[in-house]
Amino acid sequence: MENFTLAMPATIEAALAAAQQADAKFIAGGTDLLQLMKDNVERPQRLVDLEGLPLDTFSMGADGARIGTLVRMSDLADDPTLRRHYPVIAEALLASASPQVRNMATIGGNLLQRTRCGYFRDVGFPACNKRQPGSGCGAILGLNRLHAVLGGSDYCVATHASDLAVALAALDATIEVQGGNGTRAVPINEFYVLPANTPQRETVAGIGGGRRRGRGRPDPQGAGRDGRGRHQAVAAGRRRGGAGRHDSDPGGADERGSARRRGRPAAQ
C-alpha cells in the first residue's frame, strides 16, 4: 500500500479537525480500510486514528440501546444484555467475518464498509462507476451472482456487505452522525443512498469513492444507538454542507460532477 501520515488525536474534536485535511480518512479497526488500501482502491494521504476516543461503550436505557461507534464487533456480540434484548444484532455480528476480524473491527466501520463487488475491488478492471464515475459497470453483464436484484441501477448493482446493517435496519435504528457542523440523527434507512447515477456516493454523510482534488474526503465512521426501537449512533466524521440533500461535490469543480449533470450514461 502507499505510504501515509498517521495522526493519533486525543479527542473527538481533534479527530474532526485532523480529518479536515486533504485526503484524510478515519481508521478504526482498519479491517476493511487496510484491505482497500492494499488493493489501491483507497489511497488516503493521511489516516486519523480513532482508537482510544470515548466512543466505545454500549449501554441499555429505558429507551433502548446505545452503541458506541468504536465498540468491537466481538464485544457487542458477546454482551449478555445485548443478546437478551436484541439477539438479532448478535446473530448478525456472529455471521460476519471471522473471530479474528471481529476482535478488531468496530460497529461503525462495519456499517461503513465498502462493497465487496469484485469489479470495485480490482483497480485493474477499468469499468467501475463507483470507483471511476462514468467508466461503466463490469458487474451488470459480468459476474453478478452476489449483486443487487433490488435497488440497483444501470450504473451500479453493488450490494452492501454488512449483515449488521440489515439487522439494524429491521430494528429501525438511528445513526448519530457527528461532524464539523455538529451532530444529526439519521434513521438508518435514510443513511444509505441507492446508487442511482451516483454510485460513488454511498451514505448521506458522504462516504464514497473517487478522488476529490484538493479537498479532504468526508469519512464519518461510527454508530451508536439510542431510543426504544429507535437507535442512535454516534459517528465522528466530516459533514459537508447541504443538510437534507446528498452531499455531492458542490460547485461543479469536479469533472465527474459535470459528467453527471450532463447525464452521460455509463459506458458498458
Binding site: M1, E2, N3, F4, T5, L6, M8, I27, G30, T31, L34, Q35, M37, K38, L47, D49, E51, S74, A97, S98, P99, Q100, V101, N103, M104
Partner: protein, 200 residues
C-alpha cells in the same frame, strides 16, 4: 534446533549473499534495507516499541508497515505467516492484549503499549503449550504453513470457552483455513485440549 544447526532461512540467505544474489525482502513498508544497517528515515516514519512475547523492541517503521511485516521483517520472527495478507486466511493470527487478531490488517505503529504474543511465545521455558502438544499428538498439520495461525487461534478459542461442541469449534476456527485439509485432525486436537481444560 541445537546451537550448532543453522536454519534453512539463514543458510539460503547467507549462500545467496555470498553468491552475489540479492535476497529481496519484497515487502512494502519494511524500513530496514539490510539487517544491521540503520533504517532510511523519511519524515513520516514512526518510532514504536513493540512488546512481543514479553520482550520490548524499539523499532522505526513506516506508518503503512503492518504488524505482520514488522514481526517477520524487522524482528525476524518468522513463525507468523503471510498467507493472504488480507485478513481472510488466518495464517497471521497473533494475540494482542489477549485477543486473537490478524496481524496483516494491523498497523505496527498502532501497537505501542500492547502485549503481543506470537507462536514463538507460546511455549514457556521449553515446555510446549498444551495446544502445541495436542497438535503434535493428533497430527494436526501437513505442510505446516497454516499451523502457527491455527495454534494461536485454537489457544484463544479454548481460552474464550468456545470449544463446547464440534460445530462450535469449527465455527470458531472459521478464521483459519488449511489448504492441505488437516481440519479433522485440527478439530481432534482442539477437542483434546478443551476436554482436558474444561474439567479443570
Amino acid at each position: 534446533m541445537s546451537e550448532f544447526e543453522v536454519s534453512r532461512r539463514r543458510f539460503i540467505g547467507a549462500s545467496a549473499a555470498a553468491g552475489g544474489l540479492a535476497t529481496a525482502s519484497g515487502v512494502a513498508g519494511a524500513a530496514v534495507a539490510q539487517p544491521g544497517s540503520p533504517p532510511r528515515r523519511t519524515p513520516e516514519m514512526i518510532d514504536v516499541t513493540l512488546e512481543v512475547n514479553g520482550r520490548r523492541h524499539a523499532l522505526t517503521v513506516e506508518p503503512r508497515t503492518t504488524l505482520l511485516d514488522a514481526l517477520r521483517e524487522e524482528l525476524r520472527q518468522t513463525g507468523t505467516k503471510k498467507g493472504c495478507d488480507q485478513g481472510s486466511c488466518g495464517a497471521c493470527t497473533v494475540h494482542v492484549d489477549g485477543r486473537r487478531i490478524n496481524a496483516c490488517l494491523t498497523l505496527a505503529a498502532r501497537c505501542q503499549g500492547k502485549a503481543i504474543t506470537t507462536i514463538e511465545g507460546l511455549a514457556k521455558d521449553g515446555e510446549l503449550h498444551p495446544v502445541q502438544a495436542a497438535f503434535l499428538a493428533r497430527d494436526g498439520l501437513q505442510c505446516g504453513y497454516c499451523t502457527p495461525g491455527q495454534i494461536m487461534s485454537a489457544a484463544a478459542l479454548v481460552e474464550e470457552g468456545r470449544a463446547v461442541s464440534d460445530a462450535a469449534i469449527r465455527e470458531w476456527m472459521s478464521g483459519n483455513i488449511c489448504r492441505c485439509g488437516a481440519y479433522p485432525h485440527i478439530l481432534a486436537a482442539i477437542k483434546d485440549m478443551a476436554g482436558s481444560g474444561s474439567e479443570g
